[in-house]
């Protein structure tokens, strides 16, 4: 394969995985931005999305019900977690980390118990192969990338153009002041947490025809999301998007030209450099 072919494959892989990472990381970023908590169980919402996608699509024989049902169920799980775990500990930063680590294991082990250790496939709703001059590529992956981009645009609209978005931004800037102005901050917290989980779950549903549902799949998603959020600047949605694409591209291009292991090393080094040079991240600040 020529240099152009290699580069093209690297860029393509990079953009596709970057957009999926962005979708997952956005939820983490949103939750941190609004609630100031680190949700270590975020990757498990991604995994739950994938597992429920398998469940619903094997129940109904079609992928589309799963696309709707799985995120709703994950949202309910997130709301319950918010009500019965996070609220009782008053969203205090350190206890939240411990509590969400606990949640991570509980969700993982529940899935292992009831779903099993299998990596189960789901048929892609649309299957076609795009034949480039150098190699073939999954058409469904391109569709996933496009959908992820659309959802990110929708999220941007929600945050900047709706009342919920306004509430979230207000709560992020100054919780007490927002409360004084009548913003129901507790409900905003719950909504932000559920929305974050839904984004991760949708990413999980979309990825499952590519990657199969497996009870440990949340770990990779969590690590990549953390990287994107840290590099992008904690709480900044724009920063998260830029960083996710950046991580995806580095991974794609480096993997194709060198080795995927080197790509992971470089991405991790990048996190270190960003933290040393700009401790708040590239777009770090107080705004969503």
């Amino acid at each position: 394969m020529s240099f152009t072919g290699h580069l093209f494959l690297g860029l393509l892989e990079g953009v596709v995985s970057g957009l999926v990472i962005a979708l997952t990381a956005m939820g983490l970023s949103l939750v941190f931005g609004v609630m100031r908590i680190v949700n270590v169980a975020h990757g498990e919402f991604f995994m739950l999305g994938a597992v429920f996608a398998w469940y619903f699509s094997s129940l109904t024989g079609s992928f589309y019900p799963a696309l709707v049902a799985a995120p709703i169920i994950v949202a309910l799980v997130a709301l319950l977690a918010d009500r019965f775990i996070l609220r009782p500990i008053r969203y205090a930063p350190e206890p939240t980390i411990v509590a969400t680590i606990g949640l991570l294991y509980i969700l993982q082990q529940l899935v292992l118990t009831f779903y099993g250790p299998y990596a189960r496939p789901v048929a892609a709703p649309i299957y076609f192969r795009v034949d480039f001059p150098w190699f073939g590529y999954s058409g469904y992956k391109l569709v996933v990338a496009a959908l992820a981009a659309l959802l990110l645009a929708a999220l941007w609209l929600v945050v900047t153009r709706t009342r919920l978005g306004l509430y979230m931004r207000a709560t992020q800037q100054d919780r007490e002041m927002a409360q004084a102005f009548g913003v129901p901050t507790e409900r905003v917290y719950a909504a932000a947490f559920a929305l974050g989980a839904v984004l991760a779950a949708i990413a999980g549903v979309l990825i499952v025809p590519v990657q199969q549902a497996h009870y440990l799949m949340g770990l990779d998603a969590l690590l990549l999301s953390f990287m994107a959020v840290i590099i992008g600047g904690v709480g900044s949605l724009t920063g998260t998007l830029v960083a996710a694409l950046f991580i995806g591209l580095i991974d794609g291009v480096m993997s194709v030209f060198f080795t995927p292991t080197l790509a992971k090393i470089v991405a991790s080094l990048l996190v270190v450099f960003v933290l040393v040079l700009k401790p708040m991240g590239l777009f770090g600040g107080d705004r969503l």
């Binding site: 995985s17 299998y118 990596a119 073939g136 590529y137 999954s138 993997s255």
Partner: protein, 438 residues
């Protein structure tokens, strides 16, 4: 033997192995020599029951294998207990999860040996776990019988206490298979393998075997076993490759095969895969049509018509596997059929060796008898105890050698097209454990 008079239902009624076992041995008083000893031990709490430690990958990337290894082990123990136990003693499995994690694997060996005080430890699969845990078993001086396929056992690099009597190692598998690949599929071969010990066995011995029969390794593509996306590795496969030799493990195996199909499309090279790439995967999974016509190694054919011996049929039914290699209860739950027979066979090796050696309890004396007896074995005959086929056992290597199957994907199922003989896999031995002190 009078023990046969007890039916399965009755045995179940007596509330599981422990209680049921007392009755069993009571009735089987006619059993030669051993039974009275067993009955005498009944009064001491740790006596009597033979306790076999089972190191199992219940969680982690080996969990699919672990689930089936456990099913197989339970089926084998049930059958052993129904037919008089081991030397008249009932058998109990003491299973412990190691998370497919080498560090945890060492702890599991310690826990089983020192706290649970089992008689033997067996069942470990993933080679990174075996390599980490085997030295500890050697230090604790407890027989450790793995079902791993890795060459680490016959290489002589483990220790006197480590055996692999139930499954052929990778070195022997590739020695038997590579001549077939080069002769039937092509000379220029690219090897795609997992980036850890098990994969290196393929790389080293497959590579050497390819060169030996006049083939050429076009490229080596190692992939971390935890990888989830594979397209980025495929540019490393040269376009003029005749054959892609692939062996993958872990939860990403189906993705691997699917993405390879998308990448190559109709311009695909010939494929020779090891069933590891498809263990636990339904052949009817979406996107697998790409594999049609390609060849796959199997240790024991997944589909019942592949090797329809009476023993294989018996074993299949006892473990609860249907004719397509999936669970009888859940046809979507596909087994790891080419590996788990090793668990069954290893348990029967323990039975045969305990009965011949007169092993009674943990300790230097018992273990010396056990190990020296096992090392003297030369064959395990085909039968209900060894349904995959007869095994040649080389005592100095602590390793068994069996036949291998080559199947082709036809109409979305595996059809056996060839079978190698035990001799085809024999290689020049390197190690000699019998010279090591006990």
């Amino acid at each position: 033997m009078s023990a046969r008079r007890i039916t399965r239902r009755e045995a179940m009624k007596t509330a599981g192995a422990l209680v049921g076992a007392g009755v069993l041995t009571g009735i089987s008083g006619v059993l030669p020599t051993r039974a009275p000893t067993a009955a005498a031990q009944a009064s001491t709490p740790s006596g009597k029951t033979l306790r076999i430690g089972f190191q199992v990958h219940r969680t982690g990337i080996g969990a699919v294998y672990g689930a089936w290894y456990e099913k197989t082990a339970n089926a084998a123990v049930m059958y052993i207990n129904e037919t008089g136990g081991i030397a008249g003693r009932p058998v109990e499995l003491v299973a412990e999860d190691d998370g497919t994690d080498p560090k945890r694997g060492v702890e599991v060996v310690e826990k089983l040996a020192q706290q649970a005080k089992v008689d033997f430890i067996f069942g470990t699969l993933f080679s990174n776990v075996v390599i980490a845990a085997a030295p500890r078993a050697g230090e604790l001086k407890i027989p450790y019988l793995v079902v791993s396929e890795g060459y680490h056992v016959p290489s002589g690099k483990m220790n006197r206490y480590v055996f692999q009597p139930g499954i052929t190692d990778v070195h022997a598998q590739v020695t038997a298979l590579v001549p077939w690949i080069v002769k039937n599929l092509g000379k220029k071969i690219t090897m795609v393998f997992p980036d850890y010990a098990f994969g290196y066995d393929h790389r080293d011995f497959g590579g050497a075997a390819i060169a030996k029969v006049g083939g050429k390794v076009a490229a080596l593509v190692p992939i971390p076993p935890t990888e989830t996306s594979f397209t980025k590795y495929f540019p490393q496969i040269p376009r003029d490759t005749d054959v892609v030799y692939h062996v993958m493990v872990g939860p990403g195996v189906l993705t691997f095969v699917l993405q390879m199909g998308e990448y190559f499309g109709a311009r695909k090279p010939k494929l020779f895969g090891f069933i590891d790439s498809l263990e636990g995967v339904d052949m009817a999974s979406p996107g697998l049509d790409f594999l049609e016509g390609s060849h796959i190694w199997e240790a024991l054919p997944r589909y019942a018509d592949g090797y329809p011996t009476r023993y294989e049929t018996f074993y299949r039914a006892r473990v609860g596997v249907n004719a397509s290699g999936a669970s009888q209860q859940d046809p979507k739950n596909v087994s790891t059929y080419s590996h788990m027979f090793g668990v069954w066979e290893t348990l029967f090796v323990i039975k045969e060796v305990v009965e011949q050696s007169g092993y009674e309890m943990p300790g230097p004396e018992g273990y010396r008898a056990f190990i020296e007896t096992l090392e003297r074995f030369e064959w395990f005959n085909e039968g209900n105890r060894h349904p995959q086929g007869a095994k040649k056992f080389v005592g100095r290597l602590h390793q068994a050698f069996g036949q291998q199957f080559i199947s082709q994907v036809q109409n979305r199922r595996l059809r056996v097209v060839d079978r190698t003989r035990i001799e085809d896999g024999m290689y020049k031995p390197e190690g000699d454990y019998t010279k090591q002190p006990l």
